[in-house]
């Protein structure tokens, strides 16, 4: 068990409830303006929230997993999450910025340099929420491959071999992309820049490394164009709901977000994570941190919270459902649930405000103080990076020659690295 419980806020549009944009204090005409997002992140930063994530996808939002729907009553449209995070970064100084970046149709090299650059712009507060794109219509945005229609029910049930194969392919590619990014981040040693006048050399080229990655869907030569980012390895977050994503997270992520509906479900998920961990080789530098996920709606009384949710549902014409638990309650009761998760051994929680800015304000003004009073929010004083804030150590560079190499340990042999990095093995 950890004494520190960490808090993330998942930002998306006007909030996670589909009708949130209609609330009196919602700002639906400003969703594409930097100032709106800076306001939200500063609220979180001022309250000592550890990180914010930004939702994104490789296509327009849509209800369900089929093609794009023609709904007019929900928020549609998003800024590129990584660029949004990079634009927010100069406005903040002590909160993690974790954009969603898709691995399926994007270039792993660009993903590696963009996440490294976010870490530079934020001066050590960058992260990456890894996401796959399994929707057939999103593949049509690039037009180079055809994906079968995704059936989440069959994926979770594991009953359809074609669906299982699709998921394994998508997450295998995600694992490869994380591996490429991690190698690119390390491909410059920290002391590669020498500015040595006598020999005329700006860099010591022996401290730059080809990554020579070869996977099923792509190869990347390296090294990165970008020197090793301030954190060495920016923080990788993966949301996971079933076996294959659990394997990806236990192999390659720093933080996994899980979605327990109740205590029994939590026990089950932790068991499945342990099973996944037993089948993969972990390539991330530190033990996996496990965070829970919850949609949060807060009012002064449980009755008022339920009424507010019902009012939002009525505006939407349907009961809001989520992949994770919806806590529509008082701040005290929300805090109690978070403390229960802390007591169950979880390392943190990513809160999804149902309404923005309303529920973000209530989380920061009421839930955070309650957790602080319970003594679970001790933070390292003056943490200078997100990794440090989260208690993740300073990672060694996989390519740096060890001063005292263990016998047989060929730290610079690319073949050594081909043994790792696949959650599928």
């Amino acid at each position: 068990m950890t004494a520190r419980f960490h808090l993330g806020i998942a930002l998306d549009g006007a909030g996670w409830h589909p009708s949130a944009w209609r609330e009196p204090d919602a700002r639906p005409t400003e969703l594409f303006d930097l100032a709106y997002w800076v306001d939200l992140v500063r609220i979180a930063e001022a309250a000592g929230i550890d990180l914010v994530t930004f939702e994104d996808a490789f296509g327009l939002q849509s209800a369900g997993f089929g093609g794009v729907d023609d709904r007019h009553d929900e928020v549609r449209g998003r800024l590129d999450a990584l660029l949004l995070a990079a634009a927010i970064a100069p406005h903040t100084s002590r909160i993690g910025l974790v954009p969603t970046v898709t691995t399926t149709h994007t270039e792993p090299f660009h993903v590696g340099t963009a996440t490294a650059t976010l870490d530079y712009v934020s001066e050590g507060w960058g992260g990456w929420r890894v996401q796959v794109s399994g929707r057939a219509h999103e593949a049509a945005h690039v037009g180079r491959r055809t994906l079968p229609p995704l059936d989440p029910g069959a994926v979770v049930a594991g009953t359809d071999p074609a669906q299982t194969a699709l998921i394994e392919q998508l997450f295998g590619e995600a694992a490869d992309t994380i591996e490429v990014a991690r190698r690119l981040w390390d491909s410059w040693e920290d002391d590669a820049i020498i500015r040595d006048e006598p020999t005329g050399r700006f860099i010591d080229r022996d401290k730059l490394h080809y990554i020579d990655f070869a996977g099923d869907t792509f190869t990347v030569k390296g090294p990165s164009i970008t020197p090793r980012p301030p954190q060495g390895q920016p923080v990788v977050f993966a949301l996971a709901h079933q076996k294959v994503p659990y394997e990806l997270a236990t192999a390659a992520a720093d933080i996994v977000g899980i979605t327990p509906k109740d205590d029994a479900h939590l026990t089950q998920i932790l068991g499945e994570l342990a099973d996944a961990a037993a089948t993969v080789t972990r390539t991330a530098p530190e033990p996996l941190r496990v965070w829970s996920e919850a949609v949060i709606l807060i009012e002064d009384s449980p009755q008022e919270a339920r009424a507010a949710l019902a009012r939002l549902d009525a505006a939407h014409g349907a009961t809001y459902t989520s992949d994770t638990v919806i806590l529509a309650d008082t701040a005290a009761n929300v805090a109690a649930q978070l403390l229960a998760w802390h007591d169950a051994g979880l390392d943190g929680v990513r809160l999804r405000p149902a309404r923005l800015p309303a529920d973000l304000v209530r989380i920061t003004a009421e839930v955070v103080p309650a957790l602080a009073a319970a003594g679970v929010l001790d933070r390292p004083a003056g943490a200078g990076t997100l990794r440090e804030r989260l208690g993740l150590g300073v990672p060694e560079n996989r390519y740096a020659a060890s001063a005292d190499p263990a016998p047989g340990a060929l730290r610079n042999d690319p073949a050594d690295h081909n043994l790792i990095g696949s959650a599928r093995s």
Binding site: V68, A140, E197, G200
Partner: protein
């Protein structure tokens, strides 16, 4: 702004003074970026360097700042080239950061049309335009070789002859994506319940030789609608592409007569494709060295050149032409008397190649060196560290203005010789001279997009 292409040409005496347009180029990863002088050379990668550079350029009321792109580290003789500044950020991500610390200056990034896909890149550029309030620009490059391809999914997949065809189709698809949301797509009608208006988003359904793109883009029209298109290709294909597509050309033709020839050629192509002369700005790249007197400027130019061309850099530069190891030659001695070794791919990879006949170049260089008594290092300085404008601030301002008024350019892309403070002196000393002559803005127009700042048709 209304521009017609059939207005009678006015003589030079009749027409009003042209306004000078300036871009600021972040010093790149080549020998001209001095790193040896510790008093001026800061980190090439820290965000604080980009912030200083951008805010100084904005203080100088530059039209835009310009970032090159890295797809792979340069190699020399099969090894990573180690003599020049190396290491740069992802272009889009750092521009988004710069958007947050500036408010008027344009943000132009160099981005490949080969190793990107339209759906994603159009979205990123639109995002940058939204985040910056309409200041985004895209310098399209068409690198296609196997060396760079080794870092990307498709490797070398594109024939060199098709690179502009792909770029042109890329821009056509991107424009469809940028235009797909109707101007009033977002209703955000809280009472009525409609976030989107009727027919808010049109389907893009493109099928061509290079791309099959079907789907709905994720962003409303950005403040500029379409980011400004910049282009630097100099071949006949490149000029043709630019005359049809580009709004700014980043050219190599900074010398006066050469500049006039290029200007006349490219501007002359516009009428045939139905474009007005003022819908394309031509900005050659230019370096500068200032001094209180002409003499002092010349001395500083020589000092800077020696920092830009170290003995090792001089030899490496020659090796690019000779195609073989010249480590045994004295940089302060005469040119090698051996002939270049012909190689298929050249000794240096990851940068623009020299012309294709090394033997002829070597003969020409040897003749020049013998005629003028130049050492290897002197000769390399002549080619790799000659400064475009050398003189007093008044002289430099008058030279720039002459190029613009006499149609050798519409302005320049200015590159400082160190990072990130190399441009500070230009802003402090040359800009006021241009402003005094009434040919350069003294304030940005409040809320202007990059396209408007450049005086392009909106």
């Amino acid at each position: 702004m209304t521009l017609t292409s059939d207005a009678p040409a006015r003589t030079r005496a009749e027409r009003p003074l042209k306004q000078v347009h300036l871009a600021a180029h972040f010093p790149g990863v080549n020998n001209t970026t001095v790193w040896r002088d510790n008093s001026t050379a800061a980190s090439q990668i820290a965000f604080s360097s980009f912030k200083h550079f951008a805010q100084n350029a904005e203080k100088g009321k530059f039209d835009f700042l310009f970032l090159a792109e890295g797809l792979r580290l340069r190699e020399h003789k099969g090894l990573i080239h180690d003599l020049d500044v190396v290491g740069r950020p992802n272009t889009l991500a750092v521009l988004a950061g710069i958007a947050a610390v500036t408010s008027h200056i344009g943000l132009v990034g160099t981005l490949s049309s080969t190793f990107n896909e339209p759906y994603e890149l159009a979205r990123q550029l639109s995002s940058l335009d939204h985040l910056s309030g309409g200041r985004a620009g895209w310098n399209i490059v068409t690198t296609f070789d196997a060396f760079h391809g080794e870092n990307f999914r498709r490797g070398k997949f594109l024939d060199g002859a098709d690179r502009y065809a792909r770029a042109e189709e890329f821009v056509a698809v991107a424009r469809q994506l940028w235009d797909a949301w109707s101007p009033d797509a977002i209703a955000a009608d809280k009472a009525g319940g409609d976030f989107l208006a009727e027919d808010a988003i049109g389907l893009v359904d493109h099928h061509g030789p290079q791309f099959d793109v079907t789907g709905f883009p994720t962003l409303p029209q950005s403040p500029q609608g379409r980011p400004v298109i910049v282009q630097a290709g100099d071949s006949a294909d490149g000029r043709g592409f630019a005359s049809r597509t580009a709004e700014v050309i980043f050219s190599r033709h900074a010398k006066f007569e050469d500049g006039q020839k290029f200007y006349t050629d490219v501007k002359g192509r516009l009428a045939a494709v139905g474009r007005h002369r003022d819908s394309l700005k031509i900005l050659p790249a230019a370096t500068f060295i200032l001094g209180d007197t002409e003499q002092e400027a010349r001395e500083r130019s020589r000092e800077t050149a020696l920092l830009q061309v170290s003995p090792q850099t001089a030899i490496a530069f020659l090796e690019q032409v000779w195609g073989t190891d010249l480590g045994g030659y004295d940089p302060d001695g005469p040119l090698p008397d051996i002939d270049p070794v012909s190689t298929d791919q050249g000794v240096t990879r990851g940068r623009v190649r020299h012309d294709s006949d090394p033997a002829a170049i070597a003969r020409g260089w040897r003749a020049l060196a013998e005629a003028e008594g130049l050492s290897i290092r002197d000769l390399v300085i002549r080619f790799a560290a000659t400064h475009t404008f050398v003189g007093t601030p008044v002289h430099v301002a008058e030279t720039i203005n002459r190029h613009v008024q006499e149609d050798a350019s519409d302005g320049f892309v200015i590159v400082g010789s160190s990072n990130p403070t190399g441009l500070d002196e230009f802003v402090d000393r040359v800009i006021p001279e241009l402003q005094e002559r009434g040919v350069y803005r003294t304030e940005y127009e409040e809320g202007a997009t990059l396209r408007r700042t450049l005086g392009l048709p909106v």
